[in-house]
Amino acid sequence: MYLLNRHQRHVVNYSWMLFSLLIIAFLPFMLFGGLYFKSFLLLKTHTLKDLVFSHSWHPSRGEFGFYPFIVGSVWVTLLAIFISTPICLLTAINVTQYAKKRFLRIMHPVIDILAGIPSVVYGVWGILVIVPFISRYLGPWFGVQTMGYSILAGAFVLSIMIIPFILNIMIEIFRAIPTELKEATLSLGTTKWQMVKHVLLRKALPGIIASVGFGLARAFGETMAVLMVVGNVIKVPHSVFDPGYTLPALIANNYGEVLSIPQYDSALMFAALILLAVSLFFNLLMHFFIARYNKY
């Protein structure tokens, strides 16, 4: 019935597991190494400072200033975080402290579905709803002429995309607060609101910060949805109604043309390297932050 005897099967299984594990263990290094290796061509002729702070992006002339893309990415990401953090925080408090328990059971599938909707579908939705909303209502309301494809549109769409991610963590954090702490607080004679404001928020603060940090890392690398609504104009944006360009969009939009100019190829890999570095940095930071806080 079996090809191999019991011991042989054990050996095969075991080596298979070990091999798989090694793949995983080396993946981050391979990612970093591969992208760094590919960026090398660019880094050889340009200083890091030039690349990050120069405005001029002319691949055919060998000028690779990433500044507009970096600024675009930072704006979109920070705006998205500013929009979704309060929404998530208030909703998490509502769902865990005020709403009926049944409601949490409704909320979980909602979060799952929001998290599962593909990036392009968010992009489509952004084009259908957000972009016209900005060009027809929000822009004129602020007295701005805009096509709608803008930093703000990117931020809006992105903020919706990271809501399930941040909200999920925040709900877990509030749920993890022991009931006994709530009992201890209430028994001092606080109202429910005082308990939430003075004790639960403080207790949850490290977790809240971490969830926002994770959300930030996630938002920074989001590609398709933002690309579809942000406008893709290589210019440093001056207002949120200006179109912009993000680092992931830069990579995604230009992959077809790169092969003709070797340095261009290298530049896109450098953009990917920046994304990887930002993601790793923020995730590391948050992990250490949590580890440190858990000691208290």
Partner: protein, 285 residues
């Protein structure tokens, strides 16, 4: 003092209800607008034929190439990720149970690479492809997407496997099993529902992601017929159709988005349903 507190609480409770409603409404609007726009261009032809010549200028045909392509690619990647992921998750929870620090280090690494944006995997996959002389192809797409969903798969399985009680391992050892038998026979059986959920979750991610296949899988109007040839995917077909200036083609992009959304919804429904059903066969301690 008391009154301002009360007012403050009322204010924030109203705000809380608004944000909660906002999230529910947004989900409603997303689903509604995708369905509303998508249904208009939806037709039988869309679902059952590949693009004919001039499809991207509004002529006939459909997106069967992308539907089949996406399914094949996502299946391939999910299976590959499963073959690598399950052993890792088992290894962590059976062989390394007593080495907490090592397991936590692995979890930490997995969480790190879970956070890496898919476009980075796309760029990396492209580099890898060029390195080994591979063209944009189904195979390259599968490999890239596999890397991208691996951490998701392993960590979700790991979260399930770590809840398998120690007593079960002891009981199995006392029957004379070795560790890999314990891992593959007992642990997997005990965690079927969780493993299925993890697989479906990964499948959903695999089928929905565009940035990782953009460089690697390529695009074609044909149905996939070889690992070595490019393959169309739904997210990219949406993306390309939207880029067209022709309104009919844009409308088809909405229909394609609807198809993708429905697939995702079905997958998530399945994972909920199956997850619940298999729970019943689990031994409770």
């Amino acid at each position: 003092m008391k009154r301002t507190l009360k007012a403050e609480e009322t204010f924030f409770r109203v705000l809380m209800n608004l944000t909660t409603a906002f999230i529910l409404i947004i989900l409603g609007i997303i689903i509604y607008s995708v369905f509303e726009k998508g249904m208009k261009a939806m037709s039988w032809e869309m679902l059952t034929s590949v693009p004919s010549g001039g499809y991207y200028y509004g002529k006939g045909g459909g997106i069967l190439n992308a539907i089949v392509g996406s399914l094949v690619l996502a299946f391939g990647a999910t299976i590959l990720a499963f073959l690598i992921g399950l052993p890792v998750a088992l290894y962590m929870n059976v062989f390394l149970v007593r080495r907490k620090r090592l397991v936590n280090l692995i979890r930490f690494i997995l969480d790190l690479i879970w956070g890496v944006p898919s476009i980075v995997y796309g760029a990396f996959g492209f580099t890898l492809m060029v390195l080994v002389g591979l063209q944009t192809s189904l195979l390259a797409g599968i490999i890239t997407v596999t890397l991208f969903i691996l951490p998701i798969m392993i960590r979700s399985m790991d979260e399930i496997l770590r809840t398998v009680p120690m007593g079960l391992s002891e009981a199995t050892y006392s029957l004379g099993s070795n560790k890999s038998e314990l891992a593959f026979k007992i642990f997997t059986r005990q965690s079927v529902s969780g493993i299925i959920t993890a697989v479906l979750l990964s499948f959903g991610r695999a089928i929905g992601d565009a940035a990782s296949v953009l460089f690697t899988a390529g695009y074609t109007d044909n149905l996939p017929n070889s690992l070595m040839e490019p393959v169309a995917t739904l997210p990219l077909s949406i993306f390309f159709q939207l880029a067209s200036p022709v309104p009919e083609v844009q409308a088809r992009a909405y229909a394609s988005a609807l198809v993708l959304t429905v697939i995702i919804l079905i997958v998530s429904l399945f994972s909920r349903g199956l997850g619940k059903r298999y729970h019943k066969t689990k031994i409770n301690f």
